[in-house]
């Protein structure tokens, strides 16, 4: 039995485990690490089954080229040359920015770094982005504006030290199970828990207060919380005066949100707001935990700013057991952002518009003329494809047909492309549109690093040889660069790539494979002697003073009406992950939730005459899908909840392509829908 210590490929918690392989080098299980500070001998059900999909017979094992409308096997040479030639050809005809690169939060830091290097240094475009656009782009924008750094401020272990935990828009026990269970433990040990979530999630059963605001009314609610805190003199006056600016503006804005008004907007009672304000503000250490329920709105950035405002107002930053803590959904979505797989920044959030930064990267990469115009986000790029303005797309490890809003719109966009290359481990709905498919390896077949939600850079280690002719993403990207005539992307191993990242990325300056061999380090880690940073903003914010950024409540883009009377919210379930490429090929996970479903309240089901497990059609102005009704009091009356994992009942056929103006994140959490029995 061989045991390979590695990091889980599912959510952003960053659990470590050993992949077990037998004497024939086949994977036969996982074993949790008992000594790892996050894992502590525990795993969630997806972690326990993380070995299962890797050797699935569906794995892509050879490059494919579309010929005569069909994808046919080809050699690596032919496929790679075709990619380079077609992209060069498109750029010659339509300009450098006529192609785009979608990187992947599933891939390693090294691979994300190379993807952005390929886009910028080789193809001279800043059109590079990844799926963080769809989950926490509002966090990156909102927290950077208020605190100066767009990441989880504290560490996972801070949950143990908090006196009051406010969880909003995060179904933590299902989506970050080992953080969710830690919150339950904290409550068992005496911490107060406030859950602000319209669904009756598991944590709600443990909460001292469960507040079920109407979807999308968060700004009004949190403004009102701050209204009460200021009115009752519960703010941390010393913190506000010493560490923040723009307080007067905040005070003025939240003055317009008395509990009576906010309660009416949010559909709750004024007393709930008052009680929650008192409970949170009176805790010596108050911690805010949030996720997609906050970010995936047309006012996602405003939501994030509201939470940052609340934390600053109560002095809950820069100390153990406090903080504004966005839980990142993917194994390496933090890292993909850190590596600059974003249209406006190089690695370490260094702006592409800054001439001195541009010069630094030009010198290091040995190129001239790096693009200085901010590129397209994935969401805007898809609109550009649909409009015929973007002609070529390189997708690394994302199933955009499943993950982006309004699937019919995405389909049209993909059909419009002159050339699409998809680098994947399994065939997906997106590879069906590809002109070239490049078979990549899974996390188990390569070395690298992932950065977890608590900014911890951890090792991923190769446990087995690649399946078939598949190759690690980093090798493929280097081959593309070489064939495009660039000599600056030749590496013997991912370790060398990390060494380059450390030189060019101040927050990763002290990261090396040697230092993170046993325990990962949390950035900022600027030099080889630096111990890493478990808690951000201690004594000073990344931007100097914390900036209160008051925001006004704006309703969601599409609310229920007579024609579409239900509010549809989408998300994930515990047993599947995103487009389900991996989880539907993991037998226990697929057995657990094999069919598309939609949650509906018992009251609504009764009114519509729907029984549990009955098939229904759900439709919105974008389209219609079929799913099984799950009659449950998890959802409130008038609200439907649907996970987006299922090709045969894809929630993103229904969702709305309306974007936050700043972060360009889609409003996955609110649109208008109707539902009827399928017969």
């Amino acid at each position: 039995m061989k045991r390979t210590l590695t990091t889980c490929p599912y959510c952003g918690t960053g659990c470590n485990f050993y992949l077990l392989s037998n004497d024939e080098e086949r994977l036969v299980g996982v074993e949790p690490c008992t000594e790892d500070i996050v894992t502590r001998g525990q795993l969630c059900v997806k972690g326990w089954n993380a070995f299962e999909f890797i050797e699935h017979p569906d794995r892509l094992s050879e490059p494919l080229i579309r010929r005569g409308g069909r994808l046919e096997a080809s050699s690596w040479d032919e496929a790679l040359d075709l990619v380079v030639n077609r992209f060069k050809d498109i750029q010659t005809r339509y300009g450098n920015d006529s192609i785009a690169f979608f990187s992947s939060a599933k891939a390693t830091n090294e691979e994300n770094y190379l993807m952005m290097k390929l886009a910028r240094a080789v193809f001279k475009t800043n059109n590079v982005d990844h799926c963080a656009r769809l989950c926490h782009s509002s966090t990156v924008v909102g927290l950077a504006a208020t605190l100066g750094s767009g990441a989880m401020t504290n560490s996972i272990s801070c949950v143990d030290q908090a006196d009051c935990i406010l969880v909003t828009g995060s179904n933590t026990t299902e989506q970050h199970p080992l953080i969710g269970s830690r919150i339950i433990n904290a409550v068992q040990n005496g911490a107060k828990l406030i859950v602000v979530d319209n669904r009756k999630i598991r944590l709600a059963h443990h909460a001292h207060m469960h507040i079920r605001c109407r979807n999308g009314t968060d700004v009004a609610f949190f403004n009102s919380i701050m209204h009460v805190i200021i009115k009752e003199g519960l703010e941390d006056k010393q913190f506000v005066s010493a560490r923040t600016e723009n307080y007067e503006e905040l005070r003025k804005v939240v003055a317009n949100y008395p509990p009576e008004r906010a309660a009416q907007i949010a559909g709750i009672s004024p007393q709930e707001i008052i009680n929650a304000a008192r409970m949170f503000a009176s805790a010596p250490r108050g911690m805010i935990v949030y996720s997609m329920g906050i970010t995936q709105h047309t006012h996602g950035v405003d939501n994030v700013k509201s939470l940052a405002n609340l934390a600053m107002l109560t002095g809950n930053l820069g100390r153990p057991g406090t903080g504004v803590n966005p839980l990142r959904g993917q194994n390496n979505v933090q890292g993909a952002c850190d590596m600059g797989a974003l249209p406006d920044v190089y690695s370490g959030y260094q702006k592409v518009t800054d001439a001195s930064i541009q010069e630094k990267f030009e010198k290091a990469w040995g190129v001239k003329g790096l693009p200085d115009k901010v590129g397209l986000t994935t969401t805007v790029a898809i609109d550009a494809m649909a409009d015929g303005k973007l002609k070529g797309l390189y997708v690394l490890g994302e199933n955009i047909m499943m993950s982006h809003p309004d699937q019919n719109h995405v389909r049209k966009a993909l059909q419009n492309l002159e050339f699409l290359v998809v680098q994947e481990i399994f065939p997906t709905l997106t590879t069906e549109f590809a002109h070239v498919v490049l078979p990549a390896t899974s996390f188990a077949e390569k070395d690298g690093t992932f950065t977890s939600t608590e900014r911890r850079v951890q090792r991923v280690r190769k446990a087995m040889e690649p399946i078939g002719q598949s190759r690690p993403d980093w090798e493929i990207l280097c081959e593309i660069a070489r064939r495009a005539g660039y000599g600056g992307m030749i590496y013997s191993s991912p370790k060398e790539i990390m060494d380059e990242i450390a030189i060019l990325t101040p927050i990763y300056g002290g990261i090396s494979y040697q230092r993170i061999d046993k325990v990962g380090l949390q950035w900022p880690c600027p030099d080889p002697g630096h111990p890493g940073t478990p808690i951000l903003h201690e004594g000073r914010f990344s931007r100097g003073l914390g900036l209160f950024s008051p925001v006004e409540y704006r309703p969601s883009a599409e609310l229920p009406d007579q024609e579409y009377p239900f509010l549809l919210s989408t998300g994930r379930c515990y047993f599947h992950f995103h487009g389900a490429s991996m989880t539907k090929r993991s037998r226990l996970l697929q057995r657990e939730v094999p069919l598309p479903y939609i949650e509906i309240s018992p009251e609504d089901a009764k009114e519509l005459g729907l029984a549990d497990r009955e098939w229904v059609y759900v439709s919105t102005r974008r389209g219609q899908v079929k799913a099984q009704a799950r009659v449950t009091d998890v959802v409130m009356r008038g609200v439907l909840f649907m996970p987006f994992h299922f090709e045969e009942g894809a929630a993103n056929v229904l969702t709305l392509n309306a974007l936050d103006p700043g972060a360009k994140i889609p409003e996955y959490k609110v649109c208008a829908a109707r539902i009827r029995r399928a017969q």
Partner: protein
Amino acid sequence: MRILTPTELQPFFQSLEPDYEVRVPIALPDGTRTLGRMGEGPLAIEGGPLLIKPTSVFFPQYETGLGYEEGVVRVQAPLPKPLFLVGLTAQDADCLSFVDEFFQANYQDDIYFNKRKGAVIVVVSGRCGQDEEFLKIARNKCDLELISDGAKFIVVPNTETGRELCSKIELGKDEEVADSLAALEKESSELSTEEEEILRQSSHILLEDKVPEGFWAEISRRCIACTACNLFCPTCTCFDVYDRRLKTKIERQRLWDSCQLDGFMREASGHNPMGSEALRTRRRIHHKLAADVLRWGRISCFLCGRCDRVCPTGIGIKAVSREIVKRYGA
């Protein structure tokens, strides 16, 4: 009696490798202790029960039972050499004996006995637990026992195989240890039996059906369905069987299952007689403490402590039993 110092254990185990597949407690790079081959990590005999269940050596998380390739069915072959398995606790040995019984009742599970047959079981006990904890002495529950007196190990054979192996040990020295062995046995017999008593009482309360449904609803709200309680439990034996069609062959594989999952009992219609967390949590505890008592004549939890150690929200069997006795024991 043969005495081995801690440094003599490694060469002793190595000397058995020509005849046995030796599995011993080793330390992995992050410090996790597990069962592995010599050379896969430094020997880590001391420190109490391993987190991984030792029965997984015979019943692993995932294995291929048979394959079909080019018209030929191939069944899993027995191991070429029998296993020599070191590192069980006395409780683990109880668990193993229960699982042995389970896998041969009614029909014999060949895949299990391919590995189990001829295996030599070695318990580690005495003064070598974590934080100076005294590990209960197993005696006749294993072939061979390494009983620590805090400085060295007394090698105690309990079966014919054990005695034969003992007689071949060339390392260490023979010493008269009757007195110190008796002292260790006495210390072992004086270990607290409070947990056994709580478990017995809890079992009794369950058999008398005194635990209301509300109790299960309450504690199951903490369950995050990680399935670790089952996957770490040495007496959990549930698996599901799947066929996987590969390019040139079909393999029939079995994979650990968990009664804490909805799909475990769900019928094809979608109806699930165990369709809530409350029912599933009840089932897990009830199965070990009541159903198995009726079926096998004994409680099938031997207090190894793994589910309590790994449950992220404190609903391991010891914790739940304490709660049951506290609330419904009067």
